[in-house]
Subunit: 346 residues, 2 copies
């Protein structure tokens, strides 16, 4: 089962509702760009590569359902869909990348309108299929970085659930496991939404990879005490100089690894790289509802006083000097990133 | 109301049950060293200075209730109480400091047994009273480090609830607020036990100091984006070279502050300093139950898959080079800490 898929009968996007995992596996259908955008905002679906495919299919719902009779009106509908989808998540590069790819395909096509609708959908399907292949290619490259016996800290979720299937950073770990390497994963729980405890732990248990969940703030202890050999995470957007925007907490994790000379790897496809941004400070950071921070309960009780307020930036920037390498489908890219990202990826 | 107090009628230690805050304010009475040790283990009471006073009163329960008729038997009882209390929390220096102080007082006393019992209790009371005065002295020194308009990140709870009264790091912030400085506190929620959201947010709301709760892993974002002027936390034990053992997450917070040239202050009384340990790596780190990590709920659901395991180190070590200064009741101590801690504190 794919995290993101197209339903040819309903002409809808089918998404695993990740808010209900690990307790319940439920599929949500979205029939319009609005419904897809809402699914992204409410975190039914998350993970940069998954968002690329979801946005593509979201655009396809418009292509398939638009009542436009002229090319001009049809492209107006597509543009409106792009605006709606783009606004759903500002940080992840893959979302706009998916939309741009499909819009470029559509705008350069000479097909008639009815054929074009179907071909836009086919291009969205191709994008989704390619995501899986890209992930497996990255996993093959990245698995070479993992040694038998490694203990690895992993942040957020970057597995099958963050992509169409297979995963990025977690895909690398999965590949190393399938190669027979003995691994142990320390799973950052990843506050506030707990994608580590909810999703990564669930995936690792499915793959039979030994793991233990830790508080995000405990990563420093395990690194400092020499119990960790590698740190892996994904990326939501990578600037031209190799600065990485990723799930909140990545920066502090990378700092702690760097301080203890433990290698740090970001695993992300080319579609996550944004060569138009000189550095990470230019990447927009989404701030989400304070309820994600305040809405946890212990023993049935709220843990914050009545009226408490919270801040909730969803991503942070890891400066490039903290990264050992970036793993892409074009190979493992080492510093200097400004030079090498451009060389490998253009 | 004090966090830790003695009840002369019941001959018992009275503790605010901090596990129930902020929802409920309940007082727990402990009549024996065993009950006091259990209260420490189960986190009814926490915070290094509070543990010093609690251990003192715990020893006093034995002094007052021992049925020993000879000095030898009496001291055997006291020693047994010390062992029980000491084993309740390995990292905090203040706990053993409190016990050592009372045992030294007892063993050098020439009083008869019945008078000695009462004088041990009086010494424990004195220790508790002094804690409040020491905290206020530290707060006066530390408040000079805070400027009008500062935004401060604070980790764990170091307020009245972490001490007999007033607080260490939070006491400094409270003093600066009482001096009329406009402050804003970003409260690290402090996973896994959430002392920040539960206790610090509650205290700040009582004092009328503006605050917002953040995920521990979001501190890096706020530091990186230039929104924070100071970082304050307490200490559970400080080694001779200034390495600080404190609540898990302190190390990563200090790294992020250091990386952004934001000053980092640990506030702790002399009783937290352990000059017998050359550096922080020699400080024992308590690892607590995995249930503290796994036992949180969102929307009534567990967030980790069935059978998930967790690791839960309760403290970490912040290397001295990340600290700007250590605030004590003897003044603000700057590097070189190895030299200056010894000079100020002996």
């Amino acid at each position: 089962m794919r995290t993101v898929d197209w339903d040819d009968i309903e002409n809808s996007v089918k998404l695993i509702d990740q808010r209900l995992l690990p307790g319940q596996l439920k599929i949500v259908a979205c029939h319009t760009p609005q419904e897809v955008a809402e699914a992204i905002k409410s975190m039914v679906v998350r993970g940069a590569p998954a968002l690329g495919a979801t946005a593509g299919f979201g655009l396809a719902t418009m292509a398939m359902n638009s009542t436009a009779r002229t090319r001009t009106d049809f492209f107006k509908d597509l543009q409106e869909a792009c605006s709606i989808l783009q606004a759903a998540r500002s940080t992840a590069r893959n979302l706009s990348w998916g939309l741009e790819r499909l819009m470029k395909f559509a705008s350069t096509s000479t097909l008639n309108l009815d054929d074009l609708r179907v071909e836009i959908l086919n291009e969205a399907k191709k994008l989704a299929d390619e995501d899986i292949q890209i992930n497996k290619t990255m996993a093959e490259f990245g698995a070479n970085l993992i040694d038998d016996g490694d203990t690895i800290i992993h942040h957020c979720n970057t597995g099958a659930l963050a992509t169409v299937d297979w995963g990025t950073a977690l895909g690398v770990i999965r590949m190393a496991h399938e190669q027979g390497k003995a691994l142990h994963v320390l799973v950052d729980e990843t506050r506030p939404r707990l994608q580590g405890s909810r999703l990564t732990a669930w995936e690792l248990s499915q793959y039979g990879i030994p793991y233990e969940i830790i508080s995000d703030s405990a990563a420093g202890y395990f690194l400092f005490s020499g119990q960790v050999q590698k740190v892996f995470f994904g990326a939501d957007r990578i600037a031209a100089n190799g600065d990485v925007a990723n799930k909140i907490g990545t920066y502090m994790l990378a700092l702690a690894a760097f301080d203890n000379r433990v290698p740090v790897y970001s695993v992300a496809p080319k579609s996550t790289v944004d060569l138009t941004l000189a550095n990470g400070r230019l990447i927009p950071i989404e701030e989400r509802s304070q309820n994600e921070v305040l809405g946890i309960f212990v023993d049935g009780q709220s843990v914050s006083p009545p009226g408490a307020k919270a801040r909730n930036p969803a991503f942070d920037i890891t400066p490039n000097h903290l990264l050992t390498a970036i793993v892409t489908e074009y190979g493992i890219i080492y510093p200097p990133f400004l030079e090498n990202l451009r060389k490998f990826l253009t």
